[in-house]
Symmetry: C2
């Protein structure tokens, strides 16, 4: 899947993307300006032509530039309209018990009604999922292997599926074996089991700020404390802040989403991933790495996992097929490194086993190549949807709004003017049958009162545009 | 499903069964003796003819008596051969941390290999399950409702399934509404969520002795302590012992299996269920009631749940479809009374949602009446299998062996001579490709060193008989 010839080309590719994005964002290059030709930039930056070309394709998919036939690439007229990014977060430096559970379940339950515009829950639209193919595979397995489909498949879980995951792990820079993997009832169970394997009630767990409310819920339900670390909206967790935190606090574990953090969309550069592993290894702090969005990159390369750099078995990699294939199948997995035995024990004790037929179905779909074909389409759709909603925000949201530039996944993190209370906005929006997630759910300290998370999991439509106009109005756009 | 006209008839029915079983067990009535005619006993005991008849049918299904055409009922020649029952357990009266998890997963993993004779894990044979029908229903739902089948179904879970469960709850003396129920990833998750909803790490939890190792695992994984209470092999937990225990200890909750306890097969009489609820209500102690075997009764009536007598919302009823329909679907549920909100929150935090398609499939199968038809066949098969294995034990196991008389479910609890170490026996058996469960797994204190649990979930076969002959030899039968 990696079209770039080497690791250094991959790094240079990131450099090109960053440089051009910066030039456009800062207004050095303005709408309608011609940007350097592929050949010229290739010479300037000592980068291969194909790398520059791929970087330009990404910028194009992000709506920043456009190709004009026979003429080259130009900054898109509308590109400047996307509001600026939020700044790096500045959380307080103390651990705190968590209490977001109740609000989360209300938000999710509200979000699952069909008459509500789904900008809330981070769920991909069924229109983007291979519904018919999966049901077809499932029915065939039921006919051919009926008894197995109905019987238990005890931990570590379905072997065929674990083998497929192990094969794919090469794409993320890992070399997992089938035996290193335990399947789970979705990604949430994976996070749960891993956290229970490495920490106890009362322990302090480092997280990004903001972070996925599911991470906060797991910490909450296990009566642990969360320590929020400053996080950059594009590069992820601030490693200096992390180093300070682990020096000052007795940190038992970290839970991070290095690839396309939810809600920021940030993706840690490779060098940061390496440093992260080193910082944590020095203190033997386990890292629970949630890679649930890793396959949903908009660029040309699948970002590596942090686990790719782990030499000590300290990284517990977690993921699932809920965001990219079949949310309702509830199939997740973890490769918990040196904690595998404990995680497997806890899996027995938590849910005994994962549903058999969904695992068999996914294994078959992966094996047949259907998953890769599906992912190619899905990534394209999601990149487009993120772009459309970003543009709508620029058009319909009040002055002072900021929005992230995710390079994967399908959520946007929107900073509204300070005067906006997003919990209030959430309630008002729900009355208009629009679901959004208020920012306070992404912080143990209930920060981000004027932020919201918007899901871009559904294809663009008039209904979506109307909802965004309404949201903008409710948020104070005059 | 209840063919007996009233509650008092149901009570009298139990009296008849008990009386005749006693007379045969004590040798008052001996093999080949004619037992009182239906009419005569009806007059003697002031019980209706149909009640006596139904009691006799149960005794017949248990292999204690046999009908001879035109002549009446006789004590079966082989009836006396079933070894006596184990005595009421006598556990120590102190709470203890639990550590059975590792051994359990080894036993279960070993048990799931097809070349191993499956007397271990409590799993019904796929031959007894409606494999084709379920796969047919599932495929049809996939075609008709593909998008829903692939999407999330957030807690409290699939509404259709909850409605079906609520409808059935009338059979257990409950009047649950759809809204009182939360679906879960199997029965283990239900137990987990309920225990987390009512107790904290370090708390003392009352359990039967012996009890299902899954209960011990849940307590272990949540770092709570188990307090084992004496339990009668037929009537369940000893209520006097329970009263003493809750007086002497700060008991935070109970987890009991009142209907067909695993491994004992005991079923609490209704009056005991009523008393139990009263004892616990006086101290506001929540009862987690595991009713996973409740539908698998061998008699004519479905035993009531303890929850049927609960006036204070203190009973958290748990069950699943893993023992009687589709283990691999991982669909369980709970009706957690006054703790429903908390349980629902924890469900979000533990696994987010239960797999959608398995829930939809079971709902449809229940609605169509397929489940009841299947249960009628299954109960008959299980009663026969329990009987066949009991007889084989009498024939092939050493002198001094005792075995339970379950009136439902499909496990036998076998007490071997004191000299037998059942963990050792388990290892030896496994070398002969026979899976059994050693007794120590059913006690937090690793008691029951000379007990084993045998699963009767598979149809009788020569292979099974050979395995029982081997087991008897390994256990010291000369």
């Amino acid at each position: 899947m990696n079209n770039l010839s080497s690791r250094s080309e991959s790094y240079l590719y990131e450099q090109v993307v960053e440089k051009m994005t910066g030039l456009i964002g800062q207004g050095v290059l303005r709408p309608g300006d011609r940007i350097p030709s592929v050949r010229r930039l290739s010479l300037q930056m000592h980068v291969s032509i194909s790398t520059v070309l791929q970087a330009y394709l990404l910028l194009e998919s992000r709506g920043l530039i456009e190709a004009r036939p026979q003429s080259g690439y130009y900054v898109k007229v509308r590109a400047e309209k996307i509001p600026p990014e939020p700044r790096t977060s500045t959380p307080y430096a103390s651990a705190t018990p968590v209490g977001v559970g109740e609000l989360v379940s209300k938000v999710l339950q509200a979000a699952s009604h069909p008459e509500i515009v789904p900008l809330g829950a981070g769920v991909p639209s069924p229109d983007l999922l291979p519904v018919r193919q999966l049901n077809h595979v499932m029915a065939a397995i039921g006919r051919r292997r009926g008894a197995a489909a109905i019987g238990y498949d005890f931990p570590p879980g379905n072997e065929g599926l674990r083998r497929q995951i192990a094969r794919r792990s090469l794409d993320w820079g890992c070399h997992l074996s089938t035996d290193e993997i335990v399947t789970t009832c979705g990604g949430m169970e994976a996070l749960n089991l891993c956290l229970r394997a490495v920490a106890n009630p009362g322990d302090t767990i480092v997280i990004e700020s903001p972070t996925f409310f599911g991470v906060l819920q797991v910490i909450e339900s296990l009566k642990m404390k969360a320590l929020e670390i400053a996080t950059h909206p594009r590069d992820g967790i601030d490693l200096e802040a992390l180093e300070r935190a682990v020096k000052r606090n007795k940190v038992r574990a970290c839970i991070l989403i290095p690839n396309f953090n939810n809600p920021l969309g940030s993706c840690m550069p490779e060098k940061n991933k390496k440093s992260l592993v080193e910082i944590l290894a020095r203190r033997e702090i386990p890292l629970i790495e949630d890679d649930i969005y890793g396959d949903l990159y908009f660029g040309v390369t699948r970002p590596k996992t942090v686990k790719a750099f782990d030499k000590h078995g300290l990284v517990l990699l977690c993921s699932s097929f809920s965001k990219n294939l079949a949310p309702g199948y509830r199939v997740g997995w973890t490769a918990p490194g040196r904690f595998k035995f404990k995680v497997e024990q806890l899996k027995f004790m938590n849910t005994l086993a994962t549903a058999s037929l969904p695992q068999m179905t996914i294994a078959q779909f992966l094996d047949s190549g259907g998953y890769d074909r599906h992912l190619r389409r899905l990534r394209k759709s999601l990149a487009t949807q993120v772009q459309r909603i970003s543009l709508a925000i620029s058009r319909y949201f009040p002055e002072g709004t900021r929005v992230t530039r995710p390079s994967g996944g399908f959520v946007l993190w929107v900073e509204l003017p300070k005067s906006v209370n997003s919990l209030e906005l959430h309630r008002k929006a729900l009355r208009e049958k629009i679901s959004i997630i208020p920012g306070c759910l992404f912080s143990a300290k209930k920060r981000y009162q004027n932020f919201i998370r918007l899901s871009c999991g559904h294809p663009w439509s008039d209904r979506l545009e109307q909802a965004l106009i309404t949201l903008g109005r409710l948020a104070g756009k005059d």
